[in-house]
């Protein structure tokens, strides 16, 4: 065996050893005679040159890949919306700073955790995840999250699936809806109620009455409607100012609400006018209920800036006729109201 090795030129052996050590810059001197030894040197040098080139290209590609990954990470973290990547099992693969802030977690803290944990309703997550698996997309779903801090903010969820690193990955974006929901709730409440007196708004009162009239018509049940107006309200405003007027309206509405039965509804019809619905109530009974309320109001004494304010109301009440619209019934009640005014105020007229 040693004689076989002896036949290999030492310079070639040395060269291959250098290659094995990773030194691809080593070149053998050539005689340029293109004979056997020169051919061997040519081969060696060509191989070394190719290895050197391949290694250089490989390193450049590796650097490009690292830069690309770093750029992706920067873009991901800089995204102005919370973004979360999940794997095929619904576990968190990656998330950005916005998502960390939304879920109230540290960076890297929830990698591997199931997204189920961050939904207030876990069943909702199950449903969404199934849809994402099946259809690859979930668009604009309002969801209630659960943060590690115990909060439950509303978020608008959008999701897509794609292949990342040869793995099926879900990309979730979340937009904070908490403020919007708060505004919606406030608007809903405002739309349904009169802000000053906390009675039903006119629109909502009409809705409620229509529903009740439809029900009452089905079962032939009596419904009474009344119009109520504060007596001499303008003079209260003129004497004591609009703040006093507001206080009076609030007090009257509060007293009426407490004085009526739970099924009765009161809505603010106009400036100092209220409409009242008394379901399942024959006319005479409605008149008694309203007269009781009228008396309580008459007995009320309100103190405003050292002045005592007394107030009375006039009321017209009707029993809604079969097939009669709310507008027609209230018009009749309104006529009675004005008759009550004409008859001296502070009274209830029923017809």
């Amino acid at each position: 065996m040693s004689s076989d090795l002896d036949s290999i030129p030492p310079v070639l052996v040395e060269g291959f050893l250098k290659l094995c050590e990773g030194d691809f810059s080593h070149r053998l001197p050539r005689s340029l005679l293109r004979d056997k030894d020169d051919t061997a040197a040519f081969f060696f040098n060509a191989i070394a040159e190719e290895l050197d080139r391949i290694l250089r290209v490989s390193r450049e590609q590796e650097q490009r890949l690292l830069r690309s990954e770093e750029n992706f990470r920067k873009l991901f973290d800089a995204a102005p919306v919370p973004m979360i990547l999940i794997d095929e099992e619904g576990a968190v693969r990656m998330y950005n700073d916005q998502a960390a802030a939304l879920l109230e977690v540290g960076r890297q803290a929830i990698v591997g955790a199931s997204m189920r944990e961050f939904f207030a309703d876990e069943n909702e997550w199950t449903m969404l995840f199934e849809r994402l698996e099946k259809e690859d997309v979930v668009d604009a779903r309002a969801v209630r999250l659960r943060t590690r801090g115990g909060h439950t903010p509303w978020s608008l969820l959008n999701a897509r699936t794609l292949m990342l690193d040869e793995r099926r990955t879900g990309v979730l974006t979340l937009a904070d809806l908490t403020e919007q929901k708060r505004i919606e709730e406030r608007l809903r409440r405002l739309a349904a109620r009169d802000e000053l007196t906390d009675t039903l708004s006119r629109g909502r009162f009409f809705e409620v009455v229509r529903e009740e009239l439809a029900r009452a018509a089905r079962y032939s049940r009596p419904v009474a409607l009344a119009m109520l107006d504060l007596d001499h309200f303008k003079s209260i405003n003129d004497r004591f100012g609009h703040r006093a007027g507001d206080d009076v309206l609030r007090a009257i509405a509060g007293l009426m609400t407490r004085g009526l039965r739970s099924q009765d509804q009161i809505g603010r019809y106009g400036g100092e006018e209220f409409a009242v619905m008394l379901p399942e109530t024959p006319l005479e009974c409605a008149r008694e209920v309203l007269d009781r309320a009228r008396q309580q109001i008459a007995d009320l004494r309100l103190d405003f800036g050292g002045h005592t304010i007394a107030i009375t109301v006039s009321v017209g009440v009707v029993s809604v006729l079969k097939g009669e619209s709310i507008e027609a019934a209230l018009a009749r009640a309104d006529k009675l109201l004005y008759r009550a005014k004409g008859a001296g105020r502070n009274r209830v007229l029923a017809e």
Binding site: R30, L32, R34, D35, K36, D38, T39, F42, F43, A46, E49, E50, R53
Partner: protein, 142 residues
Amino acid sequence: MAIDTTIETSAWTPIGRSENAEFFEVEPRVLAVVPFDGCDDNEETARASIRIQLEYLRARQTRASVLVFMDRVLTQSAAAREVYRCEPDPAFHACFALVGGTPFGRAVGSFFIGIHPPRVPTRLFATFGEALAWARLTAGAP
């Protein structure tokens, strides 16, 4: 012993010349690249070689095989081989028939084919005659 790398080109039509080679039309649809004996082949000379071939063929709208005599090349860089891999145009280059009559020529040719095979068919032959026969066949030459 010196290697005889003489190539008889008197019957061929010269079509161009670069820093390290002469170019001929051997016959219709067969070109030849004859490097100067003992030349170096680098990226620049490789680009020049392909450019001269393609300019000739495109001007005549002809597709041809190209014979290349490898025994006369002394050194060939990896960059040159990369040019031969990427820059030939299959619309005009039918094939490359390399002629390596000496062990050195065959070494250069085989390394070229093995590491950087061009986009067009390329084979190594020991003699000019074998190379020409294949070149004619591939180019559809008469």
